[in-house]
Amino acid sequence: MAMFKADGKFAVLIAYFKIILTYRAMMLIHAIRLLLLPLVLASAWLSIEKTASNPYSDSDYLLYYLLVPVIMNLTDSRVVFKFSQAVKDGSLNRELLKPFPPLMSYLLESLANNALQLLYLVPFTLVFWLFVRDRVLLGHLKPSLLLFFVVAIIIGTLARLVVSGSIALLSFWIEDVTTLNLILNGGIWALLGGMIVPVATFPENIRHIAELLPYRYMLSFPIEIFSGRLSNSEIYIGFATATFWIILFAIIMHIIWKSGLKTYTAYGG
């Protein structure tokens, strides 16, 4: 505990938990946003006529969209909106003055927010699973697979964080980064990350592109591991690819932060 008290990170995390809890109505709206679209997509996939090359069965689709809200939430990061707001209204100045790594507070807020969503996401997923449990096959689950699953979620969170972070930091120069975010982080993520279509069911050529890009590792990859459809070597290759992207974007983020701070003139006063 002494370690946490010394630099106050733990206290800040607790504070963010409290702040988020005051906006319960917002949480409800967020919950609807998180749960509705995966449910719609699951219904859509369960009523399709499959193409011949599609390897997924109904059970696969159910398991996939059962996990989508949880993974989507755990890897989510609101840093783009929070940071560009802070640059615009000048509240970044306060962050810079604190004896605390300035970007750390955005990270901690994100963590607190995502952890709180689990309060309803986990029970909801379990209840939903109870309804469809005879249609979802889980016999293949092993401890090692669960370990890979957890590691993949952490890697996915980091990947999303550094990609969103890099876009967010462009707020130093660009007034409105939300359009850029919509394209790079929202649109392509939904298409190639596995939101609309599970990456494993893409035709060969699109799948290869999706596996090379960082987006798959933010959503589809942990679920693919959980479903037991990946071999160990495929999992390791995935980890390596994602780690490469994380390091690359971390370096980009660092460079942008350094040069951005020099141009930042704080128009909030």
Binding site: V40, E49, K50, I196, V197
Partner: protein
């Protein structure tokens, strides 16, 4: 007539206002354009792994998307800016000011502002539908077009009901940000044909919570797949809905106590 001219003046004012921020106006148009393109890509990607969804093949799904985007864009132009404004009005107390004015408050609250950012989407949606017409997916049939017109009106009326319910909620809860997000979430239910849902849910979507009439029924009508009984009963439902929701709005305003109460 007087009411209409007041609304027209208000619209003119909001357009002049949005032209003050030309750069962000252009940005918004670009963002909306990408939104449309990504929506379109979603269906194209979807059909790499599926041959058809609940009996709708990819061409018919594009018609559904065109209709969906048409309705969505119309809601965005007419209702969305007012929904945003309502949240502020309740928070800042400007609603009190409006209620004292000698004009129908519901009318002003509903149509005070207009946003032209989605005009591009209407154009693109119309282009998409026109292309499907050219390819013969949509057959030229006056009866179908008539039913489609009724379907679109029904759809807009139902969205207006949803809008009225949300602003009532805003008045009652005094603080409700991001109501538009809530509305958009419900729109995502209408992105795919209602035939994908299990029977019981589909029944709800055809009656108490008429999601089916937002996009599926108008698109079916355009494709000649909807029975006129369904379309007209939806229309009747929408009329009842608007009357009911207007009544709810009046009740809400009666019980509204402002910040001082």
């Amino acid at each position: 007539m007087r009411q209409a001219s007041i609304i027209l003046h208000l619209w003119k004012a909001t357009i002049i206002q949005s032209m003050e921020y030309r750069a962000s106006f252009v940005f918004a148009i670009i963002a909306n354009f990408f939104d449309f393109i990504f929506g379109l890509l979603q269906y194209l990607v979807f059909f790499t792994a599926a041959k058809s969804i609940a009996g709708w093949d990819s061409d018919q799904m594009l018609v559904l998307y065109g209709v969906f985007m048409l309705v969505f864009a119309l809601h965005f132009i007419l209702l969305y800016p007012n929904l945003v404004a309502m949240g502020d009005m309740v928070n800042s107390g400007n609603l009190d000011l409006l209620l004292t004015k000698p004009i129908n408050a519901q009318l002003v609250v509903s149509f005070k502002r207009i946003s032209l950012e989605e005009l591009g989407s209407i154009g693109t949606a119309a282009l998409l539908l026109g292309w499907q017409f050219y390819r013969g997916i949509i057959v030229a049939d006056l009866g179908n077009f008539l039913l489609f017109g009724v379907g679109i009106i029904t759809s807009l009326l139902l969205i207006y009901c949803m809008f009225l319910l949300l602003i009532c909620l805003a008045v009652l809860m005094e603080r409700l940000d991001n109501m538009s997000q809530l509305l958009w979430s419900f729109f995502s239910l209408a992105r795919y044909p209602v035939e994908i849902y299990p029977n019981r849910i589909r029944y709800v979507f055809m009656s108490f919570f008429p999601v089916a009439f937002i996009a599926t029924i108008p698109a079916s009508a355009l494709l000649g797949r909807a029975s006129s009984v369904t379309v007209w009963s939806g229309f009747a439902l929408a009329i009842v809905g608007v009357v009911g929701c207007s009544w709810l709005w009046r009740c809400t305003i009666k019980s509204y106590t402002s910040a001082g109460g």
